[in-house]
């Protein structure tokens, strides 16, 4: 069985990793040993273009659910990253400074952004989407925002 839900739109293959939670702003959330690891979805990395700059709140910083904790920037756009949880930043992905393209090439793996210790994950989780619900949302977005995938 595949690890992903996937679809093809034009020539682009878009995947949603199973077993993660998602936000409506296209971030994924994975729960690991009481902490949450956060990254961008395949849809977000594809529509953002080749990421050249990443800014993320430093370890030790407090983040609030729904508030900006960082940005990813390409020549095409700058995307504000809104925290899916309230809590404290534990760790940021040090590899991204030298290789921001990891966000594009491996969004669900080596392109992870940050690990956060959430104050109350169960509360925050109520507004997240399941993998299947995010996949459906992504399909809707593809229909209405197709111009973002390829410059026409």
């Amino acid at each position: 069985m595949s690890e992903y839900f996937q679809t093809v739109f034009d020539k682009f293959e878009l995947r949603v990793r199973k077993g993660f939670y998602y936000t409506k702003d296209d971030l994924w959330v994975s729960v690991e040993n009481g902490k949450v690891r956060v990254g961008v979805s395949d849809y977000l990395q594809k529509t953002s273009g080749d990421v050249a700059f990443i800014e993320i709140a430093k370890p030790g910083s407090t983040v609030e659910k729904g508030r900006e904790f960082g940005t990813i920037e390409s020549a095409k756009t700058t995307v504000a990253l809104l925290s899916p949880v309230s809590g404290k930043v534990d760790e940021t992905n040090g590899e991204l400074a030298g290789k921001p393209e990891l966000v594009n090439s491996d969004p669900y793996g080596k392109g992870w952004l940050v690990v956060i210790t959430a104050r109350n994950f169960e509360d925050d989780r109520t507004s997240m989407l399941s993998d299947e619900d995010y996949y459906k949302l992504m399909l809707e977005k593809l229909q209405s925002e197709r111009g973002k995938l390829e410059s026409r």
């Binding site: 093809v8 739109f9 034009d10 020539k11 682009f12 293959e13 390829e150 026409r152």
Partner: protein, 136 residues
């Protein structure tokens, strides 16, 4: 596969750095993608296709393709046949320009009025071919 995905054609243009016809080929393809047939076409990036790009090769294998080449070396056509399959249609820019005095010393970097007009003619021809292949 959705209905809308079925009605798509991949356009593969040569990269053609060495001659103005290569630039014409590229611009004509982009005009089709952006203006003339935006919902029916997908562009396949030839360098990525050659380097083994999975999405490019799978699309070209599973869907109809039209190749657009600037010269008779036919790099886009040859690559498509080699890595994915015979294109539904192939356009050679010099076939179309030979009767209309293609300017020999035109810049390959930036199209002038004359070469841009040729690019638009090629784009119209590509669009016609898109309509033809989708009808069958």
């Amino acid at each position: 596969m959705t209905d809308s995905q079925e009605k798509k054609v991949g356009i593969i243009s040569c990269s053609g750095e060495e001659c103005v016809e290569g630039t014409i080929s590229r611009v004509a393809t982009r005009l089709v993608l952006g203006k003339l047939r935006p919902d029916q076409t997908v562009t396949i990036c030839l360098p990525l296709f050659l380097a083994g790009g999975r999405e490019e090769r799978e699309f070209a294998r599973d869907y109809l393709t039209i190749t657009v080449d600037g010269c008779d070396k036919m790099c886009a056509k040859i690559a498509t046949e080699r890595y994915s399959g015979k294109p539904a249609s192939s356009i050679l820019v010099t076939d179309i320009t030979k009767n209309s005095q293609c300017p020999k010393l035109s810049s390959r970097r930036k199209l002038n009025d004359e070469t841009l007009t040729i690019a638009r003619k090629i784009a119209d021809k590509i669009a016609e071919e898109v309509d033809k292949v989708l009808k069958h």
